[in-house]
């Protein structure tokens, strides 16, 4: 019987396995200086995941914590802009690539910092231009880019590193493969039935990865009228996010009402919690940050 794959010791000199192991070790080494890694994921897109990430990171940084924010959404990167760090250069030195610095000192890494303009999508050039349209090439490069952002950014000592994932549940296993010791995941939804339906898949994915689920956040839970100050319903027929969390067996971190000023602050690069911390939405975001601190045993 001729030898099989496992009968042949070593990797025949290709060194590929050793290099892959070294890549993973590089991520692990970098994350040793990060006390808590927190993924922020959603089911559907457009639920305010990035806004939430930017504001939670800022709220915690404003308390004096060292906080980082990694924009893992390569198709729609926006964290650098939301945190006021757009356009900064990334310095390369002996310790790696220094991240951009946003409001409240939040360290930011996003592919948006590397692109030539708002109209430039993420496209990976191959050697001969033949693979740009290959899904295998694009998919593998996306994972490699995320790995390099994790391992080669000189985050320094951080108490929290938030990772803003692309919409949907499918990117999550990739992150867990790179960060098997992920400290927690926040799942974001809005009160629409479709969003709640889809977010169940994300909860299942997070649960099956055997990484801690910090809890559910319901964004756009009501509308804060700036004229009368009342928080009214935005999705009148929906049940509460707390009920949904209970049904899913997931901790409920809280709900954030929609405030029209969220868009303005988000697009202006000054996180809402800094400018409008006393508003219903601001208070809700700060309270969610409190719960994250408590959930992770920090304070």
């Amino acid at each position: 019987m001729p030898k099989k794959y496992r009968d042949i010791a070593g990797d025949a000199g290709s060194d590929i396995v050793a290099q892959v192991v070294e890549q993973r070790q590089r991520v692990r080494s970098r994350m040793e200086r990060v006390a808590h890694t927190v993924a922020v994921m959603s089911g559907k897109g457009g639920v305010g995941k990035s806004m939430l990430t930017a504001n939670l990171a800022t709220a915690l940084a404003a308390r004096g914590y060292a906080v980082g924010a990694l924009d893992a959404d390569l198709s729609g990167p926006c964290l650098a802009r939301m945190l006021g760090a757009q356009g900064q250069s990334l310095r390369t030195g002996g310790e790696g690539v220094s991240p951009a610095v946003g409001v409240a000192g939040v360290k930011v890494m996003s592919v948006d910092l590397l692109l030539a303009g708002d109209e430039a999508p993420v496209v990976w050039d191959d050697l001969h231009g033949s693979a740009q349209n290959s899904s295998v090439w694009r998919g593998t490069m996306d994972v490699s880019a995320l790995r390099e952002f994790l391992s080669d950014t000189d985050w320094g000592e951080l108490e929290f590193l938030f990772i803003d994932l692309p919409p949907g549940s499918h990117p999550f296993p990739t992150l867990v493969q790179l960060l098997p010791d992920l400290d927690g995941t926040i799942v974001v939804t809005i009160p629409s039935d479709i969003s709640r339906l889809v977010v169940k898949k994300s909860v299942t994915m997070a649960r099956e990865s055997k990484t801690p689920l910090l809890g559910l956040v319901e964004n756009m839970a009501g509308y804060h009228c700036l004229h009368c100050g009342v928080v009214g319903e935005l999705f009148p027929s929906s049940t509460g996010g707390d009920t949904m969390a209970e049904d899913l067996g997931v901790p409920y971190l809280g709900q954030v009402p929609f405030d029209p000023r969220l868009c303005e602050s988000t697009e202006g690069g000054l996180p809402f919690v800094l400018e409008h911390g006393d508003s219903p939405a601001g208070k809700a975001l700060i309270e969610i940050a409190n719960r994250i601190e408590q959930s992770l045993g920090v304070s």
Binding site: P2, K3, D7, I8, A9, G10, D11, A12, G13, S14, D15, I16, A18, Q19, V20, Q23, G84, Q88, S89, L90, R91, T92, G93, G94, G96, V97, A100, V101, V103, A104, G105, V111, L113, L114, L115, A116, G117, A120, P121, V122, V123, W124, D125, D126, L127, H128, S130, Q132, S134, V136, W137, T140, M141, S144, A145, R147, E148, F149, D152, L274
Partner: protein, 140 residues
């Protein structure tokens, strides 16, 4: 992937990795017993898959540069996205005192922007004049 010499029932060893040339790599394995050689020739897709993994067949001569893959393959990069700087420009006492007047929540970010401005212009020192130039140009 491993190669087996069927004649000798021995695992073959890597002897050379050449290319890529016109998108193809030639990776040669030899049997340690009989010396027979086999060359695996990759097509551009296969070559790019190896490249996308961030590995080199046969090993690297030394550690890779930070974000080597992203920097080598990301199309439409901003010219000033990456700057080489080990220590950063020096802040004069006057510039430091002026920076201290920036509100706390924005100070680190402002410091980074002034340093970026100085590095991009080859300035090794940040003075109040440099800060004025930066403010005028960047509208801060």
């Amino acid at each position: 992937m491993k190669f087996l010499c069927r004649k000798c029932d021995e695992g073959m060893k890597l002897v050379a990795a050449e290319g890529p040339e016109e998108g193809s790599m030639a990776v040669t394995f030899a049997c340690p017993s009989c010396g027979n050689e086999v060359a695996m020739l990759t097509n551009p897709e296969e070559t790019n898959l190896v490249r996308a993994l961030g590995v080199q067949v046969g090993g690297r001569a030394g550690p890779s540069e930070p974000m080597a893959q992203v920097r080598a393959t990301l199309s439409r990069q901003r010219a000033e996205a990456f700057v080489r700087d080990e220590n950063g420009p020096i802040w004069t006492q006057e510039a430091t005192e002026r920076l201290e007047r920036v509100p706390g929540f924005a100070r680190d970010m402002a410091k980074k922007r002034y340093e970026d401005f100085a590095i991009q212009r080859g300035m090794s020192e940040i003075t109040p004049q440099v800060m004025d130039e930066a403010r005028e140009l960047l509208g801060q």
